[in-house]
């Protein structure tokens, strides 16, 4: 075996995206969201018809729009990581694109929440809407923290737009942004797509 290739393989196998400590946050968050999803499922089993009726009021279109926005945003940040790896000056533009799409996600969320509140469906008006507002709210807190991180990342680029900070910081931030994305896809499936009870 070629010793150079062998060395490369070891390096690839041993690489933890971002840094090892970050995964405390990633797995910790996934664990707790897992508990939240199970809590929702248990509630559904308890009263599927009432939950299903409220659920019908959600706009799948807006949910889908937000899914596309976040997935595209994630795509841009993945390309920003690639650009930084090559030392390309496109890094900042890609980060800003991810930031803009993430901000659009927040905008859609505000319109969506505003619509439901306007129709009298608020945080404690029904069991389903409690789950809906709280889970999407906890997710939104993740999005806002992520947007703060993306803004800070854009700041770390030099005047040409190339990434100047430590590579692991950019990669780790991208991993967090993918987590935000993954959690949203789960929420979209659970809250918007899987219909329950007599309303199906």
């Amino acid at each position: 075996m070629n010793p150079a290739t062998d060395g490369n393989e070891t390096a690839l196998r041993g690489h933890v995206p971002g840094e090892p400590g970050l995964w405390v946050l990633i797995f910790g968050d996934l664990l707790v969201f897992g508990v939240l999803f199970v809590t929702y499922a248990v509630s559904l089993v308890g009263d599927p018809d009432a939950m299903g009726l409220s659920q019908q009021k959600l706009s799948r279109g807006l949910g889908l729009a937000n899914t596309i926005l976040l997935l595209t945003s994630s795509w841009f940040i993945a390309h920003a990581v690639n650009a930084a790896r090559r030392g390309s000056p496109r890094a900042r533009r890609l980060i800003l694109a991810a930031l803009a799409l993430g901000t659009a996600f927040v905008g859609v969320k505000v319109v969506e929440w505003g619509g439901h509140i306007g129709h009298g469906d608020t945080l404690n008006s029904s069991s389903f809407f409690t789950f809906y507002f709280m889970y999407t709210g906890i997710h939104l807190l993740h999005v806002l923290i992520g947007l703060g991180v993306l803004t800070w990342l854009a700041w770390q680029c030099d005047s040409s737009g190339a990434w100047t900070g430590p590579f692991a910081v950019l990669e780790g931030s991208a991993v967090f942004w993918h987590l935000v994305d993954l959690l949203w896809v789960m929420l979209f499936a659970l809250l918007y797509l899987l219909r329950h009870g007599a309303a199906v």
Binding site: V32, T130, I138, I145
Partner: protein
């Protein structure tokens, strides 16, 4: 370096946690918390049955809030070491910590008020007891600021060997995010976001347990290697 004093300071944390737990569990029987759906008579009866427990538990909560300071000081000393000359987020952590402990003190006081006068009206007993429950759970709001600020300090450490490990910085951010749902307990009397619910009580309580345990071990390890005297740039 005063390693003995620092180690002693760290133990104020678990001591505070223990007093807190003794007050809530065997004394007041509010671990797990009673349901916010309970009627006036039921809450008053609970306080009546555990009157001495509430009064002694109140003292323990106020004591917990008063003896935790060496623990907080050790954390702040390490954060200041990391942040250096302009310790913005260290100061934020210290201020919000102080504010948060004040709510623990008030929590003990509210439960004392609930149990103090045997001839108090049932409504009055429930009102004070409700305030105690809110003061137990709602301080998750300042908690979020404090944990995120602490995380921000630890993650900005650029030393080759960080003063506090980076995973502990990420752990603080995790705890901060998951404490936030405690903010909404005023809106619900039933379900996962009520003050006895899984998302507003159990998750914040468990992550707080993880945090205080991890903090002890992290601080003791940093004290052992004399990280406060570390002269890396």
């Amino acid at each position: 370096m005063k390693q003995g004093a620092l180690r002693l300071g760290v133990f104020a944390g678990p001591l505070m946690g223990t007093l807190f737990f003794i007050a809530m569990w065997p004394l007041m029987h509010i671990f797990p918390p009673y349901s916010p759906m309970l009627g006036v008579e039921e809450v008053a009866a609970h306080v009546q049955e555990n009157r001495t427990g509430f009064l002694v538990g109140g003292i323990l909560l106020m004591t917990a809030a008063s003896i935790v300071w060496p623990f907080i000081t050790v954390i702040v000393l390490f954060l200041k070491k990391i942040e250096g000359e302009v310790p913005i987020w260290t100061t934020v952590t210290a201020l919000v910590f102080t504010f948060g402990q004040f709510t623990v003190f008030l929590c003990g006081l509210a439960f004392t008020m609930a149990a103090f006068r045997p001839d108090a009206s049932l409504e009055m007993v429930r009102t004070w007891s409700d305030l105690g429950m809110f003061l137990l759970v709602i301080p998750a709001i300042p908690g979020t600021t404090q944990y995120l600020a602490t995380g921000a300090v630890i993650l900005q450490d650029r030393r080759a060997r960080p003063i506090l490990p980076r995973w502990y910085g990420y752990l603080n951010i995790w705890v901060g995010i998951l404490s936030a749902p405690g903010a909404v307990v005023g809106l619900f009397k039933i379900g996962p976001f009520a003050w006895n619910g899984i998302a507003a009580f159990w998750i914040p309580a468990i992550v707080f347990g993880v945090w205080i345990t991890a903090t002890q071990f992290t601080l003791l390890a940093a004290i052992k290697r004399n990280a406060l005297a570390d002269d890396q740039q």
